[in-house]
Symmetry: C2
Subunit: 330 residues, 2 copies
């Protein structure tokens, strides 16, 4: 059922029908009513593709996430999609994975679809390859980043003070008389490197600056958290605190400690990052640094909508403050 079919049935031209569909003025009230009835009767629905072609806008927004499965990102896809779809946009959520080429490929594919805006979630999008792809494929549409930033005129970034946040966590443990702290990093994203910096700063200001070297690698996963904790216990039996870049590994670290007969938090404190649901399920409940991922994403979504509405006096970057949610592991 196209606009022409309706026009024919109503005995008017397609233009007239179009104007009724879009509530434009200059139509005799009677005609308008008649056409409206016909539209309803035929349950006419405008073809968004055709509309997008002439309007040169798809009312679609691309959302790039490395991996939607991380508990960390779970809420995001939900709330951001909700917010944007309330504003009349349709979301194209793409899991890009880690490799640069797949991110570039995803941007390219979205560009082909004439997206009106792009939202990228996660600091891994803060890289040269993505920057180039955006310059190349989407130089003119608004782009927002949650937990990242790129120095391009059309890109706005929302960040969080992770360096400080982690430093605060370290200081919290120190204030509980736990000075010998290890730091566990899953991967070298810009975001995690920031955290590591905060760790090192705070440690050097404490009584055991040599712990600044206690940095361990562990890809995100339950098994790794368990494994790395045992490794730390072996190399540093005197360890007093564990600072993680995410919650999952921290949860299994708690289990590893308990399994080894080490009381938590009496002998060793554990702090996770992200403040996901896992924190409450952990027993004892996990203290965590809330990195405000959801807030960052929502703020990015709002900024994107503002830009789409033509507001171009927005700051290039804004900074949120993380906070510690203290539970039972400190």
């Amino acid at each position: 059922m196209t606009i022409y079919d309706i026009a024919k049935k109503a005995g008017v031209s397609a233009s007239t029908v179009s104007r009724v569909v879009n509530n434009k003025p200059g139509i005799k009230p009677e005609t308008r009513r008649k056409i409206q009835e016909l539209l309803k009767e035929c349950s006419y629905t405008p073809n968004e593709t055709a509309r997008g072609l002439v309007k040169r806008s798809s009312r679609m927004i691309g959302i790039l996430i490395t991996d939607i499965r991380y508990a960390h990102y779970m809420d995001i896809a939900f709330f951001v999609e909700q917010e944007l779809s309330r504003a009349g946009y349709t979301c194209l959520i793409v899991n890009t994975g880690i490799p640069d080429e797949s991110k570039v490929e995803a941007i390219h594919r979205l560009a082909q679809r004439q997206i009106d805006g792009l939202l990228m979630v996660g600091s891994t999008f803060q890289c040269a390859a993505v920057q180039e792809a955006i310059e190349q494929d989407l130089p003119d549409i608004p782009v927002a980043m949650a937990n990242g930033y790129l120095p391009l005129p059309n890109v706005k970034g929302v960040l969080v003070d992770e360096c400080n946040g982690v430093a605060e966590c370290i200081r919290l443990m120190q204030s509980r008389n736990h000075q010998k702290i290890a730091f566990i990093i899953p991967s070298s994203t810009p975001s995690n490197l920031q955290k590591q910096q905060g760790f090192e700063q705070a440690i050097r200001q404490g009584t055991h600056p040599e712990c600044a070297e206690w940095v361990y690698q562990s890809p995100t996963s339950l098994e790794d958290g368990y494994r790395v904790t045992n490794q730390i216990l072996q190399e540093h039996p005197d360890v007093e605190g564990l600072m993680f870049c995410e919650d999952e590994a921290a949860v299994s670290a708690v289990r590893a400690l308990l399994d080894a007969g080490i009381p938590v938090p009496e002998q060793v404190s554990v702090i996770g990052t992200d403040n996901t649901r896992y924190c409450e399920i952990c027993n004892p409940k996990l203290t965590a640094l809330d990195n405000m991922m959801l807030e960052m994403s929502m703020e990015s979504a709002r900024i994107l909508l503002e830009s789409l509405n033509g507001n171009n006096s927005l700051p290039a970057r804004i900074m949120l403050f993380s906070r510690i949610i203290e539970r039972e592991t400190t």
Copy 2:
């Protein structure tokens, strides 16, 4: 950079360029090469909107999920998106929420976008409102359902034997000498009602058929699981087993039992459903009925792709078998 711009630069017609872009035959090899170079040089990208208009296909697939945040659905959006996008489709993931109208609204909006196929995840889409919406808005495109079914010619369903699965769980507990079992249901979805049926069947065949009445309501959430467990303990201090329709509430039930000084699984067994990551995090680790949600979704995706490729000899419904993952709570 449109196809006409390229045509002008190359001194040929748009048709010729189009044929090169789409690798169609009937172009002189030399011309083809020259145009290909030009395409690369100008980094030309076909406008999918325009292409969609004439081809009457958007190469987009709608994915309906009530709420992507449920751990239960976490993997799905990831793997299904991956599978479909490998096949060249772009996914429109929509969180519809529970109310019928929002599901209908979502279907309507997707129809406007001329999606080529629709995938619905979850038994809540098995309802009259959705059926009507599909008949109305998408009578001709392939639709696949994970964990649900609708009697329409263009709808294929993938189901799981939940009734049996739960019955097996009950029998497992019974074989461990736990006969007095309560069933906790979060909401009356078709899927959960199936499970309840399995519960009742198995219980009636056991030594304590009166427990078939021990059915408790609890909306999904950690707090509810804790609360409802205490309520059950109060009303039936002799309870020996708890069967949940999802994992989260089961996890907090375990905690409630331990907090009440009741040994798990010695005095009371607990079984969850879904087999999410929470099972491993729970301490003791949670035994769960794997409802094969991921497998169902992947199978639906494959069926959808088959239908899109014109295979219309697919069975209207196929059935998968659930399995019990026994861990430490039984």
